[in-house]
C-alpha cells in the first residue's frame, strides 16, 4: 500500500511540472502586461519598462520559468506582484471558504444517491419521472440562475438568509450555516442532479443482473437487496463522480463564489488573471493540481474498501 502511494506521488511530479510549464507559457503569451497594470493607466512607457525590468518580466520565458521553479522547489510559491504578499498566504486565506463550501456541497450531494436508488427501483413510475425531471433541470439550468432565484426568495423576500459573504465556523455554527446555506444549495442542486443520474443508471444496471433476480426470487427483503447486494456493486461510479466533483470544487467554484461574494480560491484566481498577477495564478494552479492528484489518489485507496473485487485484483 505504501509503495503504491509513494509511486503515485512520484508520478504526480512530472504531471505538475508539465501543467506548471504550460500555464506559465500561456500566461506570458497573454496580452496583459502586469508591469503596465502595476504602473497604472497614467504611467509612462519608461515607468512601465522599469517595473518590467525590476520584476524580471523582460527576461526569456525559460529563465523566468527556471527561477520560478527553483523557488517552488524550496517551498516558495513567490510573491504577488500586485498585492506584494506571499502567494501561499493569499491561498491559505482563501482556502477556508472554498474548502467549507466544497465539503458542504458534497454533503448535500450525498442526498442525491438515495434519490437515484429510489428512481431506479421504481423506474418508469411517477417518482422516477419526478427525480429525473429534477436531474434534467439541475443539469440544464445555469448555476447563477439558481443563485438569483434562491437569493430572491430566501434573502430578499423571506429574509431568512444573508445575501452574500462567508463567515468562518469559528464565529459560530449558526452564522456559518446561515451564510453557507444558499451557496451550498445553489451548487448542490447542479452537482446533486448529476449524482442522481449516475446513481440511477448504475443502480439500474445492477438491478438487471441475474444475481439480483435470484435474490428477489428467493424472497430477500428490499432492504437487504439494495443495501447488501446492489449498492456496494454500483458504488464505484458514484464515488468517482463525487470525488472528481469534490476536487473540482476545491479548485474554486467561480460562479457561486462571484454571485455570493465568497472570497474563495476561484475568485482569487480570476482576479489574479485580470490583474496579470502571474505568481498568484501559477500558485493557485499548482495547489489545485496537487489537490486533484491527492483526491484521485484518495479515490484509488477508497475503491478497494468499497469493492472487494478491486482489492483482490
Amino acid at each position: 500500500m505504501i509503495d503504491f502511494v509513494i509511486k503515485r506521488l512520484l508520478l504526480a511530479l512530472p504531471v505538475m511540472a508539465v501543467v506548471s510549464f504550460v500555464v506559465f507559457s500561456l500566461l506570458l503569451l497573454s496580452p496583459t502586461n502586469p508591469a503596465a497594470v502595476i504602473a497604472g493607466d497614467y504611467a509612462t512607457p519608461q515607468a512601465i519598462a522599469e517595473i518590467r525590468a525590476k520584476m524580471g518580466f523582460d527576461q526569456p520565458l525559460i529563465v523566468q520559468y527556471g527561477k520560478w521553479a527553483q523557488q517552488l522547489l524550496h517551498g516558495n510559491l513567490g510573491v504577488s506582484v500586485y498585492e506584494n504578499r506571499p502567494v501561499i498566504d493569499m491561498i491559505a486565506e482563501r482556502a477556508e471558504p472554498t474548502v467549507s463550501l466544497a465539503i458542504c456541497v458534497v454533503l448535500v450531494t450525498l442526498f442525491a444517491v438515495p434519490l437515484g436508488v429510489i428512481s431506479s427501483w421504481w423506474a418508469g413510475r411517477p417518482i422516477d419521472r419526478l427525480v429525473m425531471a429534477f436531474a434534467a433541470i439541475g443539469t440544464a439550468t445555469p448555476i447563477f440562475l439558481f443563485a438569483y432565484l434562491l437569493i430572491g426568495l430566501f434573502s430578499t423576500k423571506l429574509k431568512l438568509f444573508p445575501t452574500y459573504g462567508f463567515t468562518s465556523i469559528t464565529a459560530g455554527v449558526g452564522p456559518f450555516l446561515s451564510h453557507i446555506a444558499l451557496p451550498t444549495l445553489t451548487a448542490g442542486i447542479a452537482y446533486g442532479a448529476l449524482v442522481a443520474r449516475v446513481s440511477r443508471s448504475s443502480m439500474l444496471e445492477v438491478l438487471n443482473q441475474d444475481y439480483m433476480r435470484t435474490a428477489k426470487a428467493k424472497g430477500l427483503s428490499v432492504h437487504k437487496m439494495i443495501f447488501r447486494h446492489a449498492l456496494p456493486n454500483c458504488a464505484i461510479p458514484i464515488v468517482t463522480v463525487i470525488g472528481t466533483r469534490f476536487a473540482a470544487l476545491l479548485g474554486g467554484i467561480v460562479v457561486t463564489e462571484t454571485v455570493f461574494a465568497i472570497p474563495g480560491i476561484g475568485r482569487l484566481c480570476v482576479d489574479a488573471i485580470l490583474h496579470g498577477d502571474y505568481p498568484v495564478v501559477q500558485g493557485v494552479i499548482i495547489v489545485v493540481s496537487l489537490v486533484y492528484i491527492l483526491v484521485n489518489l484518495a479515490m484509488d485507496l477508497i475503491y478497494p474498501l468499497i469493492d472487494p473485487r478491486v482489492r483482490a485484483s
Binding site: 496580452p31 496583459t32 477556508e96 445575501t163 468499497i306
Partner: protein
C-alpha cells in the same frame, strides 16, 4: 485497527460532517466585537481593496482607503476651491518663491505620535516622485525643510501659483501625510504601514483582501471647527465603523442594498438605475462627473494628419453617444470642449465653432488627409460598460464614414497594457481607444494630462509645440485674466490639432438607503465623514 468496507461506509458520511464542524484552527479567522448595525455604515465598494499605498497606485479604492486613514494639508471644498485642512496657515513671500505652511494643533497619528513638519516634508518628497502633479511641483522646488516642529518652508526656483491646488489634488496620487518613517520608503515600493492621522483607523485584523475592509472611528482625531464642505472643513464621523464589502456581481449587490444589508452602493452600472428606482427604501444618486474621450494615435496614418483627427469630431453626436452610455438624460451633458464644461474654462469652448455630426464632411476631411482604406484598430474595453458602449458607437460611425475598422475586444488590464505600445496598428499597436476620467481633472490645464503634448504626452503622443507653449504659459500665469485668455487660446488650438476627441460628460451612478443623509455622492473619490443615519 484495520478498516473494512462496512466500517468505512458507515463512517464516511459522518466524517464529512465532522470535517465541516471542525474548529477552523488552521484556516479560520477570529471574530472581533462589532458595533451595532445602526452605528455601522456598510458600503458596497467599487472594487476590492488589495493595495494599501495611495502613493504607489492610482486605483480609486486605494485612494478611498487613503482618504479614510490619512489627512492632507489642504482639501477642496464642494466648489473645488482648496481650503486649509491640516495646515493652520499658509503664507507666500512677496516674490512668490517661499511658501510657509504651519500645521494646526492636536494633529496626531493613530499610534499617538504627533504629526510634525518632518513628516510633512518626507511625505511630500515621496509623493513628488510618483504623482504627475507632484512631479510638476518638485520641478520648481529648490528646498523643502522643516523649520520647526510645526512649520514647513518650501523654497522655489520659480513661482508656482498652483501650490494649494497641487497639495489638495483629489485624484492621481493625493498628497497624503504619513509618518516620516513610512514616507521614507522607496516610492516604487509599496508601504505596508496603515498608520495615518485621518478620521478612521484601518482594522488590518478584519481585512479580507478581495472581499472586506473595515475602518473604525479614530478616537484621537480632532476635526476642524468649520462645517464639512466637500472634502474640506471638519471631518466629523457619525459612525463607529465603516465596512467595505466587495460584491463582484451587480445583481447580488442590488439585492443586498434592497434588503437593507448595505447602506451605500458606490458604483453601479448606469443601466441599473431603473431597477434602483423601483427598489424600496433605496435612492439613486449622481456619482462622479466624468469626461469621456477617445485617445487617438498621432504617430501613424491616417491620424498623424490633423484633418483625419478633425474628421472624428464630425462623426460624433454626443447626445446619441451619451444616451447609449447612460440611458438617462439626467445623467449626462453634452460638452464640446477640451476642458470639462463643469469647470471654469468649459465656457471658453464658445471661442471656436462647435462641431456637429456631419458624415459627408468627415468623409471629405478623411479624403483630404489621404486616408487609403487601411485598417483602424479600435481598442474596445468590454468590462467597463461606458467604454464598451462608446467604442461600439464610434466603430459604427467610423464604418459609416467608410473606414476599415478592426474592433478588438479586451478587458481594461489588456487595454492599459496595449495603449502604451508605440507600435503601428498593423504590428500590435492601436489607432483609437476610449476612456474617461474625473471631470475635475480636465477642468483646467493643471492636471489635464490629455492636453500635454511632446515627450510627456499621454498615449496617443500628440506633438504640437504651440499648444504645449500655451499650456506652459497657463501654468506660469499669475492672474485669472491671463489664465482665462490662455485657456481660450488652448481651446482654439486644440480644435485645430485635436490632441484627443471629447465625447461629453456623464455622471456615474451611486445609490444609498433613504435613511442615509450627508453622502457627498458626486465626490470623484467617495468620502465617508459627515454622513449620518436618520433616526
Amino acid at each position: 485497527m484495520a478498516i473494512n468496507r462496512r466500517t468505512f461506509l458507515s463512517t464516511a458520511s459522518l466524517s464529512g460532517s465532522a470535517l465541516a464542524l471542525l474548529p477552523g484552527s488552521s484556516f479560520g479567522q477570529t471574530p472581533a466585537p462589532a458595533p451595532s448595525r445602526a452605528k455601522t455604515l456598510r458600503v458596497l465598494a467599487q472594487a476590492a481593496l488589495k493595495v494599501l499605498d495611495p502613493v504607489w497606485t492610482t486605483a480609486a479604492i486605494t485612494l478611498e482607503h487613503g482618504y479614510l486613514i490619512y489627512d492632507k494639508l489642504f482639501e477642496r471644498d464642494s466648489k473645488g476651491v482648496p481650503q486649509l485642512q491640516m495646515a493652520d496657515s499658509h503664507t507666500v513671500s512677496a516674490d512668490q518663491l517661499v511658501h510657509t505652511i504651519t500645521l494646526r494643533d492636536k494633529l496626531r497619528f493613530h499610534d499617538d505620535a504627533p504629526v510634525t513638519a518632518n513628516d510633512v516634508v518626507k511625505s511630500l518628497a515621496r509623493w513628488g516622485k510618483r504623482d504627475v502633479i507632484g512631479q510638476q511641483l518638485f520641478g520648481v522646488v529648490e528646498e523643502m525643510v522643516p523649520v520647526s516642529e510645526k512649520v514647513v518652508r518650501i523654497k522655489l526656483k520659480a513661482p508656482f501659483s498652483n501650490m494649494r491646488l497641487a497639495l489638495s489634488n483629489i485624484r492621481g496620487n493625493p498628497a497624503f501625510i504619513m509618518p516620516a518613517t513610512v514616507a521614507e520608503t522607496d516610492p516604487n515600493t509599496q508601504i505596508t504601514s496603515t498608520v495615518g492621522s485621518g478620521p478612521f483607523i484601518f482594522r488590518r485584523d478584519l481585512w479580507r483582501s478581495g472581499s472586506r475592509a473595515v475602518y473604525d472611528k479614530s478616537p484621537t482625531y480632532v476635526p476642524r471647527s468649520e462645517p464639512t464642505d466637500g472634502y474640506s472643513g471638519g471631518k466629523r464621523v457619525h459612525f463607529d465603523r465603516i465596512e467595505f464589502i466587495y460584491i463582484p456581481d451587480y445583481t447580488t449587490a442590488l439585492n443586498v442594498i434592497s434588503s437593507g444589508e448595505a447602506d451605500i452602493w458606490e458604483l453601479l452600472p448606469n443601466d441599473f438605475a431603473p431597477l434602483i428606482a423601483k427598489a424600496p427604501g433605496v435612492k439613486l444618486a449622481k456619482g462622479m462627473l466624468a469626461t469621456g474621450l477617445f485617445g487617438v494615435n498621432h504617430l501613424y496614418p491616417p491620424f498623424d494628419q490633423p484633418k483625419a483627427r478633425q474628421a472624428l469630431l464630425h462623426l460624433i453626436d454626443q447626445e446619441e453617444l451619451l444616451t447609449t452610455v447612460t440611458g438617462n438624460p439626467q445623467f449626462f451633458q453634452q460638452c464640446q470642449s477640451f476642458f470639462a464644461c463643469s469647470g471654469p474654462y468649459g465656457a471658453s469652448a464658445k471661442s471656436f465653432e462647435a462641431w456637429k455630426l456631419d458624415i459627408p464632411k468627415a468623409k471629405q476631411l478623411l479624403a483630404e488627409a489621404g486616408y487609403d482604406g487601411r485598417k483602424i484598430v479600435l481598442l474596445d474595453t468590454t468590462d467597463i460598460a461606458a467604454l464598451h458602449a462608446s467604442s461600439l458607437y464610434l466603430a459604427q460611425q467610423l464604418r459609416r464614414a467608410g473606414m476599415n475598422v478592426d474592433l478588438q475586444a479586451m478587458d481594461w488590464s489588456t487595454t492599459i497594457s496595449r495603449y502604451p505600445l508605440k507600435k503601428s496598428p498593423a504590428e500590435g499597436g492601436w489607432s483609437i481607444y476610449s476612456t474617461y476620467s474625473a471631470a475635475v481633472e480636465q477642468s483646467s490645464p493643471f492636471g489635464h494630462r490629455y492636453l500635454i503634448t511632446g515627450d510627456n504626452a499621454a498615449p496617443g503622443w500628440p506633438i504640437d509645440p504651440d499648444l504645449e507653449k500655451l499650456r506652459l504659459n497657463w501654468l506660469a500665469a499669475t492672474t485669472d485674466a491671463a489664465r482665462t485668455s490662455l485657456a481660450a487660446q488652448i481651446q482654439k488650438r486644440s480644435a485645430e490639432v485635436v490632441p484627443f476627441v471629447p465625447w461629453g460628460e456623464f455622471y456615474t451612478a451611486r445609490a444609498n438607503r433613504e435613511d442615509i443623509k450627508g453622502f457627498f455622492s458626486e465626490a470623484p473619490i467617495p468620502i465617508y465623514w459627515g454622513i449620518e443615519r436618520k433616526t
